[in-house]
C-alpha cells in the first residue's frame, strides 16, 4: 500500500481556521499528523508605532470571544510602562480588573461547555453531524440549554457593567481603571430580579460539575483514554501560597508525573521560553529553553492549571479539585477530555470569586489610577480562559511601541493539539484510510478539548470553518472532506 495523507479542513466548533493533515505509510498505518493553522494577522507588527496607551484597546480586537483577556494582559504590561507594578495598583483597580477577568473566564467557559462541547458529551462520538450543535442540545435538554445561556449572560453582564459593552469595551487605563462600581450595579448581580443572581450561578456551576462527574462515571473508559498522552503543564500560581491564580502570579510548570520543571517570576519568561516555527503553520511552538523543543512544550488551560496549582482558594471549587485530583491519586491528570471537567471546576471557582468581590466594598472605591516612573518595557501575563497569555511591549522615549510579542494560550497548546490529533488518528485510522463522519468528529474533539482560539493564536479575520485530506507518500490526494 502506498503512503497516504488525510487532511481535515476546516476544524469546526473551534475559534478560527484549522486544517488537519494525516499521513499514512505504505502499510496503512498513521505515520504522522499535523494541525495547520492557516490564518495570518500580524497584530504584533501593525501595533508598532502606536502610542502605548492604545495597546489595551487595539489588541483586544484580536478576538470576539476573549477580548477582555487581551485587554487585561495588555493593561498589565502598560502599567509597567507608566511605572506601576501589579502590587502597586490601587486595591480598587486590582479588584475591578479581577472582577472583569473572572466574568470573562466564567462566560467563556460557559460558552465553550454549553455551546461547543456539550453536543459531544450529550450525543456521543457517533452522533450524526446535524445533531451535534446547541439546537439539538436545547431540544434534548431544554433546562441545560437555558442555564447555559443564562450563565454566559451573567458573565457578559459583568463585563458590560465594568467595560461598557460585552465585546471590545474598556475598563483598564495605564496604571488602573477609568471607572468604579456603583451599589446599583452591584445589586443587579445580587438581587436576582432582572437576571439570576450570583448564588444561582454558584448552584448551577455545582450542578453542571455533578452532571460531568456522572457522565464520567458512565463513560470513564473513553473519556479517560481519548487523546490521552503525557505532557508538561504550565500555569500561573499564587506567589505565596501556590494556589490556582488567574490574574497575577508565578509561572509554574510540572511534568506528567508532577516533577517541577519551572517556577519563575512571570516577567522572567523571556529567559526561559523560546518559540519554534514550522513551515506548515502560522502558529508558533513555544517551549522551555532548558528542556528543548522536543521535551519542553507545555499544555496550558484548565487542565494544566489544576495540575500546576497546590490548591484552589475558594471552598466549593477546592472540594471539587480534591475529587478531581483523587481520581489520579494526586498526580497530574494527562487525560485530554478531563479538560472539560477541569473547566467546570474553574467556572465554579470564578463564580465564588465574583461573589467575594461583589460583597467587597472596595470595588466601589475611588482610588482608581496610580503613577510611577515611566519605563520602556512592560510584560503582562494572565491566565486567560484557554491558558497562559503573555503580552510584552517595548516603547521609545516618545511612548511609541517599537516591539510587541504576544504568546497566546492556543500557541502554548499547539504541540499538545498536534499530539492529540496524532493520538486519535492512530486510534481510529490505522488500516482505514477513509474519512468517515465519526472519524472527523473525533479529530475535532481532540482539538476542541483545548477550546483553541485560532484567530487569537495567529494574531485572523474571517469565517471558522475543518478540512481533512488523505494524501499518499507522494502528496497525491486520496480523500478529502470539507465542512
Amino acid at each position: 500500500m502506498n503512503k497516504k495523507k488525510i487532511v481535515i479542513e476546516p476544524v469546526t466548533r473551534v475559534e478560527g481556521h484549522g486544517k488537519v493533515t494525516i499521513k499514512m505509510d505504505e502499510n496503512g498505518k498513521v505515520e504522522d499528523a499535523f494541525l495547520h493553522i492557516v490564518e495570518f494577522r500580524g497584530f504584533e507588527k501593525f501595533i508598532q508605532g502606536h502610542p502605548y496607551w492604545e495597546a489595551p484597546v487595539l489588541v483586544q480586537r484580536l478576538c470576539g470571544i476573549c477580548p477582555v483577556s487581551h485587554h487585561i494582559a495588555a493593561a498589565k504590561a502598560i502599567d509597567q510602562l507608566v511605572g506601576v507594578d501589579p502590587e502597586n495598583l490601587s486595591p480598587t483597580a486590582t479588584k475591578l480588573r479581577k472582577l472583569l477577568h473572572y466574568g470573562q473566564v466564567f462566560q467563556s467557559h460557559s460558552l465553550h461547555f454549553f455551546y461547543l462541547a456539550s453536543p459531544d458529551i450529550l450525543f456521543g462520538i457517533n452522533a450524526p453531524a446535524e445533531n451535534r450543535n446547541i439546537v439539538a442540545v436545547a431540544a434534548e435538554n431544554r433546562e441545560l440549554a437555558k442555564k447555559g445561556i443564562l450563565m454566559r449572560k451573567f458573565g457578559q453582564e459583568i463585563i458590560k457593567a465594568l467595560a461598557g459593552k460585552k465585546i471590545h469595551g474598556i475598563l483598564a487605563v495605564p496604571g488602573g481603571v477609568h471607572k468604579t462600581f456603583t451599589n446599583q450595579e452591584r445589586q443587579y448581580f445580587l438581587d436576582g430580579i432582572q437576571i439570576p443572581n450570583i448564588d444561582t450561578m454558584i448552584e448551577w456551576s455545582k450542578e453542571i460539575i455533578d452532571f460531568m462527574k456522572n457522565y464520567h462515571l458512565e463513560n470513564a473508559k473513553w473519556i479517560d483514554n481519548f487523546a490521552a498522552y503525557p505532557s508538561n503543564h504550565l500555569g500561573l500560581v499564587h506567589k505565596e501560597t501556590g494556589a490556582l491564580e488567574l490574574y497575577d502570579g508565578r509561572l509554574r510548570s510540572v511534568d506528567f508525573e508532577g516533577k517541577e520543571l519551572l517556577n519563575i517570576e512571570d516577567i522572567e519568561y523571556r529567559y526561559h521560553f523560546k518559540e519554534a516555527v514550522e513551515p506548515w503553520s502560522y502558529l508558533k511552538f513555544p517551549y522551555m529553553t532548558k528542556y528543548g523543543r522536543e521535551n519542553g512544550w507545555n499544555r496550558v488551560g484548565p487542565l494544566a492549571r489544576i495540575n500546576t496549582c497546590s490548591h484552589i482558594s475558594t471552598p466549593l471549587a477546592e472540594i471539587e479539585r480534591q475529587i478531581f485530583k483523587a481520581y489520579t491519586q494526586n498526580k497530574p491528570n494527562n487525560m485530554t477530555m478531563h479538560t472539560h471537567w477541569a473547566r467546570l471546576i474553574e467556572m465554579l471557582h470564578c463564580a465564588e470569586l465574583i461573589k467575594e468581590l461583589l460583597f467587597d466594598d472596595e470595588i466601589m472605591g475611588t482610588d482608581l489610577v496610580r503613577k510611577g516612573t515611566p519605563r520602556n518595557k512592560g510584560i503582562g501575563i494572565i491566565e486567560a480562559p484557554r491558558g497562559t497569555l503573555i503580552h510584552e511591549y517595548h516603547t521609545d522615549d516618545k511612548g511609541l511601541i517599537t516591539k510587541c510579542n504576544l504568546i497566546v494560550s492556543t500557541t502554548h497548546n499547539n504541540e499538545a493539539m498536534n499530539r492529540g490529533v496524532r493520538a486519535v488518528a492512530q486510534e481510529v485510522l490505522n488500516d482505514k484510510p477513509e474519512i468517515t463522519e465519526p472519524m472527523l468528529n473525533q479529530v475535532e474533539m481532540a482539538i476542541r478539548a483545548y477550546d483553541p482560539c485560532l484567530s487569537c493564536a495567529t494574531h485572523a479575520l474571517g469565517e471558522m470553518p475543518l478540512i481533512v485530506k488523505i494524501e499518499d507518500h507522494l502528496g497525491n490526494l486520496i480523500d478529502e472532506k470539507i465542512r
Partner: protein
C-alpha cells in the same frame, strides 16, 4: 410609532468596515428620528443568547448589510425559524436564532430582515455613496409601513 411597540430592532455589522456598518447606521437614523433606543440593539454578530432576548418581544427586525445585488438596493422580508441548524460562534443566522427561541423558550416572535446592499468592506468608518443611498431608501420604505 405604536406599531413598533414590543418590537426589537437588531442592527448587525461593524461600522469600522465601511458598508458593513449599514445595520448600525440604520439604527442611528432611527435614533435621530426619535425612536426608543431601548428597542434598538447594535451587534457585531448574533449569538445563541440572542434567542433569550428576542423571546421577550412580539416582533423582531434584523437589519444587515447585503453582498448580493437586490432590485431596489434593499429588501424587507418576513422569515421563519430555520428547519436545519448548524452552529459556529462566528456566524449564527437570524433564522437559527428564531429556531432556538422556539425550541428553548417556546416563543415565536414575528421576524423580518431588512437587507441593504453594500459594496465595499475596507477598514474605514463611512459608507459608500451608493450604500448611503440604499440606506436612505430602505429607511423611507420602513417608515412608510412601520410608523
Amino acid at each position: 410609532m405604536r406599531k413598533l411597540d414590543k418590537t426589537l430592532i437588531i442592527g448587525i455589522g461593524n461600522n469600522t468596515r465601511q458598508d458593513d456598518g449599514l445595520g448600525w447606521c440604520f439604527l442611528d437614523k432611527l435614533v435621530e428620528a426619535g425612536f426608543n433606543e431601548d428597542q434598538l440593539l447594535y451587534k457585531y454578530q448574533l449569538m445563541v443568547e440572542d434567542a433569550e432576548l428576542i423571546s421577550e418581544y412580539e416582533t423582531v427586525i434584523f437589519v444587515d448589510a447585503n453582498k448580493t445585488t437586490l432590485d431596489k438596493g434593499f429588501s424587507i422580508e418576513r422569515f421563519y425559524p430555520a428547519e436545519k441548524v448548524a452552529f459556529s460562534t462566528h456566524a449564527v443566522p437570524p433564522n437559527q436564532i428564531l429556531n432556538l427561541c422556539e425550541t428553548i423558550y417556546h416563543k415565536k416572535p414575528k421576524a423580518y430582515v431588512i437587507k441593504i446592499d453594500g459594496y465595499s468592506w475596507n477598514f474605514t468608518i463611512s459608507l459608500t455613496n451608493k450604500a448611503t443611498e440604499n440606506l436612505n431608501n430602505s429607511l423611507s420604505c420602513f417608515k412608510s409601513f412601520a410608523f
